[in-house]
Amino acid sequence: MANVMEVYQLLPKTNCKECGYPTCMAFAVALLGKEKIIEDCPPLIENPKYEKKLEKLRELLAPLMSADATETGMIIHTDKCYGCGNCVVACPVNVANDPKGTALGFGPKSGRAILMVEDGVIKCVNVEECRRFGPEKILCNACVVTCPGRAIEFI
């Protein structure tokens, strides 16, 4: 999981403001929040002296930028998933949205569950319902800590 400091260390740290943010630190936060992309930092892309940093930054953020990651930064490692449904039943949003289904330990009975088990492994749907979604996000981790396979992570 990438953190702000790690990202910041790989930026030019000159606070040149070319990205539109007052500081490199603010840009780092924006990168992690997926509001900006690496290419929004012109010096990093253009100046050859940052080549190594750029390469490392791309590596660090690759999982975040990949299509696998949902808009909340959730990454699912299906190879580690048991399909046990713990996360499905523990997710507070599932419980609130689906009182007759997931709240009672069943599979989702309403269409508003975020997590469900399909073909033996976990699948994230309705991502906009997740507490980590959007600007007002709450750092919920109910689905992470209840997973026996550590198959879910957030970046």
Partner: protein, 409 residues
């Protein structure tokens, strides 16, 4: 909705989409159940005699002949068969004067017997969901073996008296020799014990429950056990889920569990549900108990006899024909006994090929229950679950195969 027969939870909320007799999508099925469903087309058994493919009818009559001619036939397996098949199997054993035993004989038999005879208090999994507040997974690893146990019933779901679910309303304790996947999510309640250390742990717990100092060298552990003692005392509705780890560790000292259960029920209220693996082991144990007064290891040669000599591991010594249904006996036994089994003329009934069917003289393919055949079974807590076939296939159910053998004997 379909029922999964992948383990003894018999999950009955499985949604399926089929396309041309093939399953194209499943919902709510765990990975283990998914594996079972996906196996539908792989490695299916064919009717054969001495390695040569024959018709279904020929396989039946050869099986009947082998079993009918034998002096000491042994019928083994049963924990992966429906209640209906088990009943016919017991009748077949009677008719043949055979010995009958099931997989509980070398796994959960002892505990299951205590539960079925009412000697250990037990409850249903629905009661666990609604009322249980202290859960002890002892030598069991539901995350691997009964993957939906914790989400459907024991730890995570909301229930009548457990509205806040696991965070505040339930305490999970795992006692194990290793950091199993289940331990990953019960981290605070993990007690790591050395292999074979269960008897000692029981002693220590008994001491802690009695307000005495547990005799444990490790200071941290001592403190932890004392604290566990007070957690256990405060339970409103405690449940122990013992697994094979506990049974194999205690071995001949398995009765040491009894004083602990008694003590726990003096200070609070505790139930026990054995963590059965195969989907209908409990069904066989209960059916045979009703029929004979014993849960396994029965011989019908001379009326009804019961004893360790009729356990599969012993009975293979002087049996001259063996029928194995829904079990890979050869893989399950220690090598020395497996070698003996390999020499006995065997009839194997199973949906799939395995080591036992590979060495059998007669093989009879069967339908995968829950998918290709209906019937009923007892969940690990004794609740009867009925199921209908959801897929058309030419395979016959265990019950039908056994009826045919019965007629032909």
């Amino acid at each position: 909705m379909a029922v999964c027969t992948g383990c003894s939870l018999l999950c009955d909320d499985i949604e399926l989409e089929c396309d041309d007799g093939k399953i194209s999508l499943t919902k709510n099925l765990c990975r283990k159940g998914e594996g079972r469903y996906r196996s539908l087309r792989e490695d299916r058994l064919v009717p054969a005699v001495d390695g040569v493919k024959v018709s279904f009818d020929e396989a039946i009559s050869k099986a009947a002949e082998m079993l009918g001619d034998a002096e000491n036939p042994l019928l083994f397996g049963w924990s992966n068969s429906t209640l209906e098949a088990q009943r016919i199997g017991i009748d077949l054993a009677k008719k043949l004067g055979a010995t009958i035993d099931d997989t509980s004989s070398f796994c959960q038999g002892y505990l299951m017997e205590k539960v079925l005879r009412g000697e250990y208090p037990t409850c249903t999994l629905d009661e666990v969901r609604n009322f249980a507040d202290v859960l002890i997974y002892w030598g069991s690893d539901p995350s691997s073996s009964q993957p939906r146990h914790m989400s459907r019933f024991s730890y995570f779901p909301r229930g009548e008296k457990r509205q806040r679910g696991y965070e505040e309303d339930r305490t999970a304790i795992a006692i194990d020799v290793r950091k199993s996947p289940t331990v990953v999510i019960t981290a605070d309640g993990f007690f790591r014990i050395p292999p074979g250390g269960d008897a000692e742990f029981i002693e220590a717990l008994l001491a802690a429950l009695g307000g005495k100092m547990p005799k444990v060298k490790d200071k941290k552990m001592k403190k932890k056990i004392l604290k566990l003692g007070s957690t256990l005392r405060k339970a409103e509705f405690g449940v122990i889920f013992p697994g094979l780890g506990l049974i194999y560790s205690l071995k001949d000292e398995i009765d040491k569990l009894t004083p602990l259960i008694t003590r726990l029920n003096e200070v609070a209220s505790y139930k026990l549900i054995p963590m059965v693996g195969h989907y209908n082991m409990r069904g066989f144990n209960q059916t045979l108990l009703e029929e004979t007064g014993h849960i396994n290891r029965v011989s019908f040669k001379d009326g009804v006899e019961h004893g360790p000599q009729f356990a599969v591991t012993e009975a293979v010594n002087d049996c001259d024909a063996l029928m194995v249904i829904g079990s890979d006996l050869i893989s399950a036994l220690p090598a020395a006994i497996s070698r003996k089994v390999a020499r006995i003329p065997t009839v194997a009934i199973d949906p799939h090929r395995n080591l036992t069917t590979d060495m059998a003289r007669v093989t009879i393919p069967s339908a995968l229950s829950g998918l290709e055949a209906g019937g009923s079974a007892l969940r690990m807590d004794g609740v009867k679950i009925e199921f209908e076939p959801v897929i058309e296939s030419g395979y016959r159910s265990d019950a039908e195969i056994l009826s045919r053998i019965m007629e032909a004997v």
